[in-house]
């Protein structure tokens, strides 16, 4: 600060002497802001900061997460499903029907977000009508809850598909929380066979306890 004062004293400011300096300052400021913006756009900072912690596993693995444990027990596919109310749904793609067990930790909790992610990063979520999934409400900690999710996907999304499970329904709130990512072990052979299958797969209601 003292240095700046001395400079001002040594070169008394004139109306013409000040302008170029101000212009240079403005140019530098704009350049600095532009550089910052470019760096921010080039680096995947925002996505990394808002990404959930992916806990990965395969079919039959017990995946431990902050909020509990997830284990996929069965994966099937067809062009038809029979939902718990008996209604049959038909798709021109493939219904992937995943049976899995969820055990809450610490307090009763509901895994609200259930989706299938394909190798291109496309995400297909459960819904009320076409993609039935019911958690059965909050599961008491330590009591395994057996649930089924049926999700309609295009045939080319089957090979390499993963099941995603977490608590928060809104994906914008997944940051800094655990998400289960289960490799369903599916191939393009599965996709072809399921795209030709016409047998309706049952979508079971949720139930407590380990499978009988």
């Amino acid at each position: 600060m003292g240095g700046a004062r001395r400079v001002v004293r040594a070169e008394p400011p004139s109306r013409f002497g000040r302008l170029p300096r101000r212009a240079a300052f403005a140019v530098l400021l704009v350049a600095a802001l532009a550089t910052g913006r470019a760096v921010q756009e080039l680096l995947p900072v925002s996505e990394d900061a808002s990404a959930p912690f992916e806990r990965t596993g395969g079919v039959g693995d017990e995946i431990a997460l902050r909020w509990g444990e997830v284990e996929v027990t069965s994966v099937e596919g067809s062009t038809r499903i029979a939902d718990p109310y008996g209604a049959v749904h038909v798709t021109s793609g493939v219904y992937v029907v995943v049976g899995w067990t969820y055990t809450a930790a610490g307090e009763p909790q509901i895994p609200s977000y259930v989706a299938i992610r394909d190798t291109e990063g496309r995400v297909f979520r459960t819904s009320v009508e076409r993609n039935p999934y019911s958690s059965g409400g909050a599961a008491q900690p330590g009591i395994p809850r057996r649930v089924t999710a049926a999700i309609e996907v295009p045939v080319d999304a089957v090979a390499g598909a993963e099941l995603l499970v977490t608590m928060e329904q809104n994906p914008e709130n997944h940051r800094r929380d655990d998400i289960a990512v289960v490799d369903l072990g599916l191939t393009s052979d599965d996709a072809e066979a399921w795209a030709a299958a016409e047998e309706p797969l049952p979508v079971e209601d949720p139930a407590d306890g380990t499978a009988p």
Binding site: G2, E107, G137, A138, Q140, P141, G142, I143, D208, T210
Partner: protein
């Protein structure tokens, strides 16, 4: 004369710094109340099994704050034989136990008390909640009032009379049932009519 030192020149800034930091923290913590303090019962009154505890708190509805006082006694935590408010037998999956929480409560009959939550804790602090419907049990909606004489409800909807049922007795007993994994021992019972207030009763 020498120039004043850095500390002296910046003394007012230094005085303002902790104040500004505290103000910044306070201004950015506006969600602490919603996301932490009101997330669960945190302001707890204590009691132990077999003794009456008087608990006062407040709910709110369309008419504003609805303060209440209730006296509660935890009589027993035992193995349940039937769901609360139902004659149906319990059908439990393997590895699951049903625990009945015998409570005696007393309050004025014109006080709405149906909207309460009941949580059981084990020694590790794991929480198990009263659920009126789950894949394994179906029972009365409220764990705190007699299912056939709930007393008045909170006045939440315009045009709905909040007090239609039979009069609630001055003192009554309830036995809500909570499902737990087998082998878990209940150490605490937590009753709440809305956070942050709650009543924590040791079950031992």
């Amino acid at each position: 004369m020498s120039a004043p030192g850095w500390w002296r020149r910046n003394r007012w800034g230094l005085v303002a710094l902790p104040v500004a930091a505290a103000a910044a923290l306070a201004a950015s913590s506006y969600r602490v109340e919603d996301y932490w303090w009101l997330e669960k019962p945190r302001d707890l009154a204590d009691g132990s099994r077999g003794e009456w505890v008087e608990f006062s708190a407040s709910q709110y509805d369309r008419t504003g704050d609805v303060p209440f006082t209730v006296r509660v006694r935890l009589d027993e935590v035992r193995t349940a034989s039937a769901p609360f408010g139902s004659e149906d037998p319990l059908e439990l999956p393997d590895g699951v136990q049903a625990v009945a929480v015998d409570l005696t409560l007393a309050a004025a009959p014109d006080v709405p008390l149906a909207g309460c939550s009941l949580v059981l804790r084990d020694a590790d602090g794991t929480e198990y909640e009263y659920q009126s419907s789950s894949p394994s049990i179906s029972q009365a909606t409220s764990p705190c009032v007699p299912p056939d004489a709930r007393g008045p409800e909170l006045d939440l909807f315009e045009g709905l009379d909040p007090d239609t049922g039979p009069r609630r007795p001055d003192e009554w007993a309830v036995s809500p049932v909570v499902l737990l994994p087998e082998g878990v021992e209940v150490t605490q019972v937590l009753l709440s009519w809305g956070p942050p207030d709650g009543l924590l009763i040791s079950a031992g």
